[in-house]
Amino acid sequence: MWEQIRINKRNSIILLTAMAGLLLGLGGLLGYAFVGPQGVGVGILIAGGVWLVMTLISFSSGDQILLASSGAVEVTPEVHPMLFNIVEEMKIAAQLPAMPKVYIIPDPSPNAFATGRNPSKAAVAVTEGLLAKLNRDELQGVIAHEVSHIVHRDILFVTLAGIMLGTIVLLADVFLRGTIYGSHRRYSSRDNNNAQGLMIIIALVAAILAPLMAQILYFALSRKREFLADAGAVRLTRYPEGLASALEKISGSKVPMQTANKVTAPMYISSPFRGAKANLFSTHPSAEQRIHVLRAMMHGANYQDYDQAYRSVTGKSGVIPASALKESESVPTRQADTRSEPQPQAAARAQQRIRFGDFIRQQQGFAFIDCPCGVKLKLPPNLPTNKVQCPRCKTVHTVTQS
C-alpha cells in the first residue's frame, strides 16, 4: 500500500509539472501576443499568480466548496447507523488516522465521492439514491473505493490538477475572448508587426489546444486512478463482487447527477454524466470494463490478482506499477456475507429515507408534532399561525417554535 502511495506521488508530480509547464507557457505566449517580447515575463507572472490564488483558496476551503456545491449535508450516526458503521469498518481496514466525516447528498442519482486534502481530514459523501439502491455489501464496496482514493492521496491530486486545469481553461478563455473582441483595435493602431502577428496565431492555436491537452493528461491519469482505487477497494473488503454489483447498479441508473461538473467529476465513484461513451475525455473508465475486471478476480484479493484480472480482461499491460506488485502477499477473497441482508431491506430503506428527510427538516428549523392518532406533523418555520389541525383526526395543536 505504501509503495502505491509513493508511486502515486511521483506520477502526480510529473503530471502537475507538465501542467504547470503548459500553464506558464500559455501565460508567456499570451503575454507575448498581447504586449510583445517584453510581455512574456508579465504573462508568466499573471498565469502563475492566478494559479497560486486559486490553489490557496482550494487548499484552505476546497473540500467545503465542493461539499457545499453538491448540496451535501453532514450527518450524525443516528441518522444512518449502517452508513456510519461501514465507513468506520473501512477506516479500520485502511488504518486511517481519523474517522472521515460522513455526508449525504439529497440527490436521487446513485453516486459517491470522497474529499479532504489528507487522510486525517477526509470526508465521504454518498447520495440518497445510492443508499436507496445498494445493499450492505455493495455499499461497503463503494465506501472502500472512496477510502482507497483517500489512502492513495488521489484527492490531493484531483484538487491540484483540477485547479491547474481550471486556470488553463480560464486563461485560454480570457485570451480567446480578448482576441475576438479586441484584436481589431490593436492591429489598426500599430504598425503591422509580422513577428507579433505570427505569435498571435500561435497563441490562438495554443489557447485552443492547451485546455484540450491538459484535459487529456488529467483524465488519463484519473481513469487509471479509478482502476487503482478499485484494486484498493477489493484489497480492503476482500470481496470483489460487492463493488462489481454496486457499479452495475450505479451505471444502470439513468438519473444524472444534478450538481456535478467536468472538474469535480473524477472524484465521483462513477461518472456523474450518463450515457457518455468512454474516450480520451472520459473521467472514468467504462463501468462495464471495471465490472469485468472485478468479476475476473477468481483467486485472491491483492494487487497482483487485480492486475492479472485487468490484463486478461483488457489485453493491455497491467495497471498496477511493478514495484507495488512485489510487496503484496497472498490475500484470499471472502465468501458472500450472509448476514448482509439482516432485514426486509425495502422497508428499512424507506424508514431510513424518512429519518434523513426529518434530519434535513430539523436543520431547516421545522417543528415536529406527534399527534396522538399516530400522524407526525412536520411544520416549516415561520408559519403565519400557531394553530395546526391534524389532517387525520382533526385535533388542533399549538405550535411552539423557537
Binding site: 447507523p81 458503521n85 469498518e89 479500520i92 481496514a93 488504518q95 476482500r238 448476514r339 432485514q343 428499512a348
Partner: protein, 191 residues
C-alpha cells in the same frame, strides 16, 4: 608530508564510512520502530472492537431471550464463550476464545431466522446491525493487524534490517488467527 596527507585521507574516508553506516542504521531502526508501533496500534484497534462485542452480547441476549425460550443452549454457549474471551491473557488465547465466540454468534444468527417476531423487533434490528458491523470491524482490524505484522516481521527477518533488529532486540510478532473450525473448512465450490 605526502604520508600525512594520505593518513588524513584515510581518516576522512573512515569517518565518512562510519557516518554513512550510522545514518543507514538510524534509518532502519526508525523503520523498525515505526513498524512496531503500527503493529501495536493495529492491535489496540482489534482490542477496542473485541471489547465492544463483549459489551454488546448481554444486551443482545436480553432482547432475544423473551422471544426464544427454547434456545437455552445457544445462549449458554454464547455467554460461556464471552466470559472465556474476556479472560484471555495473550494473543494466542484470545485468538482461540474469540474464534469460539464468533462461531457461537453466527450459530445464534442462524437460529434467529426461525423467529420472525424477533426479526421484526426494532430494537433487535438495530442490535443486529451493530453486531454485524462489530463482527466486520473485528475482521477488518484483524486484517490490518496481520498486514502490519507481516510487514514488520519481514523487516526483522530480511537482510540488512535483520542485523539492526537483532542488535536492538526487535522480535517477531504473532499473527492473529481466528481459531474457528467453521472458518478453516474448505469452501465448497458450486457450479
Amino acid at each position: 608530508m605526502a604520508g600525512l596527507g594520505a593518513m588524513m585521507m584515510m581518516f576522512l574516508l573512515l569517518g565518512g564510512l562510519v557516518l554513512v553506516a550510522a545514518v543507514v542504521v538510524i534509518g532502519i531502526y526508525n523503520g523498525l520502530v515505526g513498524g512496531r508501533n503500527q503493529v501495536d496500534n493495529a492491535w489496540s484497534q482489534i482490542d477496542v472492537q473485541l471489547k465492544r462485542r463483549h459489551d454488546l452480547i448481554p444486551n443482545l441476549v436480553e432482547t432475544a431471550k423473551g422471544y426464544m425460550q427454547h434456545e437455552r443452549q445457544t445462549f449458554e454457549s454464547i455467554t460461556q464463550a464471552r466470559s472465556q474471551a474476556m479472560g484471555a491473557k495473550n494473543v494466542a488465547e484470545a485468538s482461540k476464545a474469540e474464534g469460539a465466540l464468533t462461531d457461537a454468534l453466527s450459530k445464534f444468527m442462524l437460529v434467529v431466522e426461525n423467529y420472525p417476531d424477533l426479526k421484526a423487533n426494532q430494537n433487535f434490528l438495530s442490535l443486529q446491525e451493530t453486531l454485524t458491523s462489530t463482527e466486520n470491524k473485528i475482521a477488518f482490524a484483524r486484517q490490518a493487524y496481520n498486514d502490519a505484522v507481516l510487514t514488520y516481521n519481514n523487516k526483522t527477518q530480511m537482510f540488512p534490517s535483520n542485523i539492526v533488529a537483532g542488535m536492538f532486540n526487535f522480535t517477531k510478532r504473532d499473527f492473529f488467527e481466528i481459531e474457528s473450525p467453521a472458518e478453516r473448512e474448505v469452501p465448497k465450490v458450486k457450479f
